[in-house]
Amino acid sequence: MSSRDDRAKEALRWIAPAGRSIDAVNAIVAAPLLERQRWSWRTWWIAFAVSLALTGAMAISIAWLLIEGIGIFGNNTTVVWGFPIANYVWWIGIGNAGTLISAMLLLLRQHWRASINRFAEAMTLFAAAIAGIFPILHLGRPLYFYWLAPYPNTMALWPQWRSALIWDFWAISSYILFSLLFWYIGLVPDLATLRDRAKGTMARTLFGIFALGWRGSARHWHTLHIYHMTMACLGVPLVVSLHSVVGLDFAASLMPGWAETIFPPYFVVGAMYSGFTMVIVLAAAVRWGLRMQALITIEHFEVMAKMLLAASTIMTLSYCTEWFTAWYGGEGAERRLVVYAFTGDYRVLYWLMLVFNCVIAQAFWFPAARRSIAAVVTIGILINVGMWLERMTIVLNTLSHGYAVSMWRTYAPTLWDFLLLFGSLGFFALLFLIFCRALPVVSMHETRRLLSAEAQP
């Protein structure tokens, strides 16, 4: 009896009093979708306009890229990879966190995931989709990207399966589709709720179609639960393998600074790191914008801050390992590369990266920092910048300063590099803003379940 109360309390810890009833939860979550007149959407429209403009910029730069060719970017004969690859790794990293949260935390029975997993998964979906665009755009002949797939053709040719890019191509495709299913199946009961709450025929029809006729049958709940748990079990290895493969894009080479066994694991942690920071930023936005204070509480921010602290420490450790192996390995080029990273052409980026990724997160040792949303968000954004810088320096240092001394070159991005980067940010924001007004940003049925302490075994 008492133990059940504890569990109930533990569950309720994640929900503010204002949201501690099934009706309240339904009302709070459905409000932005069904009772829009509740509050003014001016901020939303401003944000929408800005992200739409940025999306336009992205569209233009893509069009120009296809017309003029890959040469519009800052790459050169030696540094053949630049922004697009760094952007790709960064976005896919963000794209990892959603599934990590919903899958890993589900398996670990972390109650607090209930109120954030929905929009985290949406974030995953959008980020992964955007990430998928970059490798294609950075091709010399983007329109032939489908040659990476084994399709029947009159040339009797097949993909070259040993290439990490093939692994990538399939890992991402599988991951995006997987996340889509995982996300959608979690949405179905909520869509049914909205179908039944909605007044307008249009809304009821649309929600109705996507709810697939869900009627809360205990049999269905049972099957859904089994599927959900199994998907979680599959999702964790998939997400880990995905970013390991991204790490292999670099590690499966013989270039100094790339050919490192530590890359796959530390790319995964890095992904979680940047992903969580993005979740934090979005959580703050949703909490404030959609009045979700009752469901997304300080507690959530504190626990995620703790995770950042842990990740930051692991990242720092990884960097140290890199430097150590470079020194201990004794390969001249490797050592020279580390020195170059600290003192070479990109030293500013590198130092900034270290500060953002390793130093500032240490603030979370202090509860005050963890419990201040402003602090957590600010640090989160800085860390995300740091993670982008990390990917950038990984690409640039090795390529600029490899073995062939005569071909050492430095890289200078062009306007188009930046347009595409910020354009993609705008596109991401656009998708998320639309998501906020079309679908429930918090999983109602999971929160309800959390509320009904009795329902806990």
Partner: protein, 174 residues
């Protein structure tokens, strides 16, 4: 042509107790409806099958095997090409593609299995006729019994449900 007795409850607790009592009272349970999964209810309804997982496993393995077969056939038999002196059958490099698509294969099989097993999509369903059924996706709980054929038994069953705490009881033909 059978009939259902659908009883509406306020509390998840009331629903479970009623369900338990009904089974002990020998009233055959048809189904239960709730805004969130209720632990134990599935067992009461005899929902213990785990075949879905087996399907997913089979589906995943099948897709992965197909993927690996494609790799080996294309790289070793159909058009072997010397790529940096690597072996034609570079199995370690060949593992990641099957792994990724295999997992997706499992997920897709599971999804299809889920729909089949639950008979979804089912946009039009007699239950939706019930006035107030929309509440089961929000905050109400409903229990469905197979209505006894004889009118007398039926009436007593309804009374029994009322006593068990049901606010309303509907009879549904289908």
């Amino acid at each position: 042509m059978s009939a259902l007795l659908v009883a509406e409850f306020h509390e998840a607790g009331a629903l479970t107790t009623a369900a338990r009592a009904a089974t002990s009272a020998g009233l055959p349970l048809a189904d239960a409806f709730s805004p969130f999964p209720i632990e134990g209810m599935a067992e009461l309804l005899g929902e213990t099958s785990t075949r879905l997982r087996i399907w997913m496993f089979v589906g995943g393995i099948a897709v992965a095997a197909l993927a690996y077969a494609t790799e080996v056939w294309s790289a070793v038999y159909n058009y072997p090409i010397d790529s940096g002196g690597r072996p034609e059958h570079s199995w370690p490099a060949f593992l990641l593609f099957p792994f990724a698509v295999g997992i997706f294969g499992a997920a897709l099989t599971g999804f299809i299995g889920l729909l089949v097993k639950c008979g979804l999509p089912r946009l039009h369903h007699p239950l939706f006729e019930i006035n107030g059924f929309e509440r089961v996706t929000q905050d109400r709980f409903m229990l469905a019994l197979h209505a006894p054929p004889a009118d007398a038994d039926k009436r007593s069953a309804v009374d029994w449900l009322k006593q068990a705490g049901a606010d309303n009881v509907w009879e549904l033909e289908w």
